[in-house]
């Protein structure tokens, strides 16, 4: 039923595409987590930070969100890999060759962080101030308030936005192809299509694989949202 080029093994590209898809998920997941960490830090800096950290966080989110991802990816990719390499020379380690996948994760994670910052900031701000004051009144320390009150109370507000960001990062991994640094799904598709000259077939199949990833994520994230919302009163 399938054309030969889509078989597994020597003649087909099925295994190459699936490996690419696995790579895409790995890069997307790692960048997403890095984005969450940066976003958490950025949100706290914006909400509770001093003037300097607030200023830095504002510049970070404004610049990153106003520039096309493709431009940022190229810029950060070149600047990042060269910068680290130059740093290696400076400390006497010699030029460092950065793994393409790691560089991709770093770049995408840095971009994600700016968007996550805004989602998490909004989610924290939506927590009724009384809840945080009550926690303080009980004598909880700052980190304890954060862990016990802020995180669980903000999750229902943050999950829809973060779910959106997860979809975006899956799709943004395709842009990494322009650096040619790593073999994710779009790169595997490009190679397979170029090799067999069956462009339509391979881009179509690749689109179907991406669609499967986003649909499954959508389904799982819907469940997750219902879980963190348990016990909340239903809106009208």
């Amino acid at each position: 039923m399938f054309p030969e080029v889509l078989e597994f093994g020597r003649n087909g590209f099925a295994d190459e595409l699936l490996r690419g898809a696995a790579n895409t998920l790995l890069i997307a997941a790692s960048s997403f987590v890095m984005g969450l960490i940066l976003g958490q830090a950025g949100a706290l800096a914006k909400l509770y930070g001093g003037p300097v950290s607030r200023f830095i966080a504002n510049i970070y989110t404004t610049v990153i969100r106003a520039v096309p991802e493709l431009v940022l990816i190229l810029l950060l990719f070149f600047a990042g890999t060269r910068g680290i390499s130059a740093l290696g020379v400076a400390v006497g380690y010699g030029p460092v060759d950065i793994n393409g996948t790691l560089a991709a994760i770093g770049v995408l994670g840095f971009v994600q962080g700016a968007y996550s910052t805004e989602v998490i900031r909004g989610a924290i701000q939506a927590i009724p101030a009384g809840q945080i004051e009550a926690a303080r009144a009980y004598g909880m320390s700052g980190p304890l308030v954060f862990r016990r009150i802020i995180v669980p109370a903000m999750l229902p507000n943050a999950i829809p936005g973060l779910a959106n960001l997860w979809m975006i990062v899956i799709k943004d991994t395709a842009l990494i192809t322009v650096t040619g640094a790593t073999g994710e799904l779009a790169m595997a598709t490009k190679l397979a299509a170029g090799f067999t000259k069956r462009y339509f077939l391979f881009y179509f199949v690749s689109g179907c694989i991406y669609l499967t990833m986003t649909l499954v994520s959508n389904y799982l994230l819907g469940h997750l949202e219902r879980r963190v919302r348990r016990g909340q009163p239903k809106l009208a």
Binding site: V67, F78, F204, G207, T214
Partner: protein, 229 residues
């Protein structure tokens, strides 16, 4: 930082900005034109049409724009190239240009995103207004043209502003199919002179300015809409 390339590439930069704006305006206009029926049938259309529209939005929003663009440019383009009648036709010079494939892919993609927005917009118009329009004796078409559509568009202007900026940020993908848009200029400078950072930084700054201008324009349009406070 080496800026010696700037005078030589200045004309290309100007035409690059103009190409980027063209891509943005055409994709948004075509995308919105498609988005109105896509949103409308999901609200009032027959079930099967609503399903098709919803499926369309899911597919467009669930796959990377890069893959969509390549599917059209390389996929459809290579199929067209194998048909001799197409190759010899007067349309071939157009069918070879990355520019048109980019506009096609961007507008179809935009229609998916804006279709969802328009669906929300149509739903947000109070039922009473539509009932009032019908009670006055307007035909369904008149209700749509005079009441429903204008009210829906007003409600979604802020969302469309965000969408316009997202579209602006996806236009550099056109450079991957040989269009020398704003980002394409930076790419060209890098290929021809091996200067990487200054052109990318300049282009980045221009994108930021464009984003700022679009935000201001939409802010002004929103300010024009009379609302009761």
């Amino acid at each position: 930082m080496d800026w010696s390339w700037l005078p030589k590439y200045l004309p290309m930069l100007v035409s690059g900005i103009s190409l980027t704006l063209q891509l943005l305006v055409f994709s948004m206009a075509l995308g919105l034109m498609l988005a109105i029926p896509i949103g409308l049938v999901q609200v009032t259309g027959p079930k099967w049409l609503a399903w098709i529209a919803r499926g369309y939005c899911t597919v467009m929003r669930g796959t990377p724009l890069l893959i969509q663009l390549y599917l059209f440019y390389y996929g459809v383009g290579s199929i067209l190239a194998t048909v001799p009648e197409v190759r010899q036709s007067m349309f071939w010079p157009i069918l070879r240009e990355g520019y048109y494939y980019a506009i096609l892919a961007f507008s179809l993609n935009e229609a998916g995103y804006a279709g969802e927005i328009m669906r929300g917009g149509f739903l947000s118009v109070p039922k009473g207004e539509l009932e009032a329009a019908r009670a006055i004796g307007m035909s369904p078409w008149q209700v749509l043209r005079r009441i429903w559509l204008p009210r829906a568009i007003r409600n979604v202007i802020p969302a469309l502003g965000g969408e316009t900026i997202l579209t602006l940020k996806s236009t550099p993908l056109a450079a991957l199919v040989t269009v020398v848009d704003l980002f394409g200029v930076a790419d060209r400078v890098r290929q021809e002179t091996y200067i990487i950072y200054p052109p990318l930084l300049l282009v980045m700054a221009i994108y930021m300015i464009l984003t700022f201008i679009i935000t201001r324009i939409f802010g002004m349009v929103e300010g024009q809409i009379p609302t009761r406070r």
